[in-house]
């Protein structure tokens, strides 16, 4: 009888310890994990690893200040916040050609608006890390069904820069006029990813000089895609600011319906 009692107590204790240890392990893994999004089984290991590593980097970013627009969209410069932003929008990640041999990632609302599709170009193309993340966060914005997926606007005709020169793809020379490749709001995919990178460039306290320089370089070019004068001015003014955060984030409720492509 006594042996039976002691045996039962021992089993109880061992089980308690085992459950506690496993729960602790799960918590630690969860804390270290940068994404809760499920990868489809056909996502190759190397692509999956790169994406996890990239999001892990986002999860480490810190800064004491952010601009007003960053505060509205992303909240604080806080790695957890950036990862939460992504995880709140992207539940699944799968492989897809995205309709183009040069695509890196896309969202196809008809195939699930909380799913991001990535292509082999995610690792095949040698983009700097922050540029890859700019694409990821650009696409994650397109999952927001309540905001009309932040569809792009048609670039104007003519489409000229501040020097009066036609805005072209700086490499292909293809003119962007008339293409669904612009935004009319700071809150769209081009705008928000530009705001993200500009803030990383200005305020990240634990980013390398390379990351910050890259963030500035890529965001400067993206800024040209925000064609509404007021929106553009708002962003330029925003980048000159920096405010200490009280720490509250709110969603954007009034999307401006735009064009078709994303």
């Amino acid at each position: 009888m006594r042996i039976r009692i002691q045996f039962t107590k021992a089993i109880f204790t061992i089980s308690l310890v085992a459950v506690s240890a496993l729960q602790a392990k799960a918590s630690i893994q969860s804390a270290l994990s940068t994404t809760v999004a499920k990868f489809d089984s056909n996502v190759p290991a190397d692509i999956k690893k790169q994406m996890i590593d990239d999001l892990a980097f986002m999860g480490t970013i810190k800064g004491d200040q952010v601009s007003g627009l960053h505060k509205e969209i992303f909240g604080a410069m806080n790695g957890d916040g950036y990862v939460t932003f992504f995880n709140d929008r992207v539940a699944k990640i799968g492989m897809n050609g995205c309709g183009s041999p040069i695509a890196v990632a896309c969202v196809i609302p008809l195939m699930g608006s909380n799913k991001m599709w990535i292509t082999q170009n995610y690792i095949k193309f040698s983009h700097p890390q922050i540029a890859r993340l700019m694409v990821v966060y650009h696409e994650s914005r397109h999952t927001e069904k309540k905001n009309g997926n932040w569809m792009h606007a048609k670039c104007p005709k003519p489409f000229v820069d501040e020097h009066g020169q036609p805005v072209k793809s700086i490499w292909t020379g293809a003119e962007l006029a008339g293409e669904d490749a612009c935004d009319v709001t700071p809150y769209g995919s081009y705008g928000s990813s530009t705001i993200l990178l500009k803030n990383v460039a200005k305020f990240c306290s634990n980013c390398t000089e390379k990351v910050k320089q890259d963030a500035n370089l890529y965001s400067n070019d993206q800024l040209k895609r925000v064609i509404d004068a007021q929106a553009h001015r708002k962003m330029v003014a925003d980048f000159g600011q920096g405010s200490m955060l009280p720490g509250q984030r709110r969603g954007i409720q009034n999307p401006i319906p735009q064009g078709r492509r994303f």
Binding site: I5, T8, K9, I11, F12, S15, A18, V19, K25, A26, K38, F39, S41, P44, Q50, D53, F57, T60, M95, C98, G99, S100, P101, I102, A103, V104, Q120, N121, K124, F125, S126, H127, P128, Q129, I130, A131, V135, H152, S169, I170, W171, T172, G173, A174, L176, E179, D180, A181, N206, C207, T208, E209, V211, Q213, D214, L217, D221, R225, R261, F262
Partner: protein, 248 residues
């Protein structure tokens, strides 16, 4: 068995069951993430360690045009060897936020810079981030005329015509071309952008010597002939601003 012991036994069994459940929950076998490779869709061309290629005489990697590289192995100090090894590790890791980029790799001695310049030429052209990173690091250590001449060489490179193959222009004419052209275009000229930014910093720096500024200005002047329009026009703007500032 008394009631108390029955309760204890049931609790123990429940806890044991929970432990087994948590074990399987955390196991990768049941996470649905087992990966299958789809060979038909994915380019499985093995990508060699880009930096170990640097000591081979002729490199012909993947679909890129062959790059003949008579790489010179410069005699390096122990510290420089360690720095070079570190650089190889970081480039292969694709972690641009490795803090060593700003600590151990901040200051590069002349021999190391010479070795890095040689290795740069041996890196496959499509490895734009890797090449750009080397230019970035060297761009922080512009001390001698050779350092500036290297940047001139970077500006003189033929255009990289596409991200998948620098020797071949992309024939893609779909909407993605304009959707992501901002990102792609900068990456295609990423080494050149890093060279440009390094020279701008020298010209703005109060610590740069007059020789360094003169060399920087000379290289920027040559960059106005870059085959990349954005590089050429930006070099032009920087020089125009410089002349305006100096005449005031």
């Amino acid at each position: 068995m008394s009631r108390k012991n029955r309760v204890l036994a049931v609790s123990a069994a429940a806890l044991l069951g929970a432990a087994v459940f948590f074990y399987y929950e955390s196991s990768d076998k049941h996470a649905g993430e087992k990966v299958r490779t789809i060979h038909a869709q994915i380019d499985r061309t093995p990508q060699p360690d880009i930096m170990t290629m640097a000591h081979q005489d002729v490199l012909n990697v993947g679909q890129a045009a062959p790059i003949a590289a008579k790489s010179v192995k410069v005699l390096l100090s122990e510290r420089a060897e360690a720095q070079l090894q570190m650089l190889h590790e970081i480039l292969n890791s694709k972690n641009d936020n490795d803090p060593r980029l700003d600590s151990e790799l901040k200051v590069l001695d002349e021999d190391l810079r010479k070795q890095m310049r040689a290795e740069y030429k041996a890196i496959r052209r499509e490895k734009l981030n890797e090449r750009g990173t080397v230019v970035f690091l060297l761009g922080r250590n512009l001390k001698t005329q050779e350092d500036f001449e290297f940047l001139n060489d970077v500006f003189s490179e033929p255009r990289c015509l596409s991200l998948e193959n620098c020797s071949k222009e992309s024939l893609v004419r779909d909407g993605e071309r304009t959707h992501t052209s901002s990102v792609d275009a900068i990456t295609l000229a990423y080494p050149q952008f890093n060279a440009l930014l390094a020279l701008e910093k020298v010209l703005k720096s109060k610590d740069a010597s007059s020789d360094e500024k003169a060399w920087a200005e000379k290289v920027l002047s040559a960059a106005r002939n870059s085959p990349v329009p954005e590089i050429a026009s930006r070099a032009d703007r920087v020089l125009a601003h410089l002349r305006t500032s100096s005449s005031q």
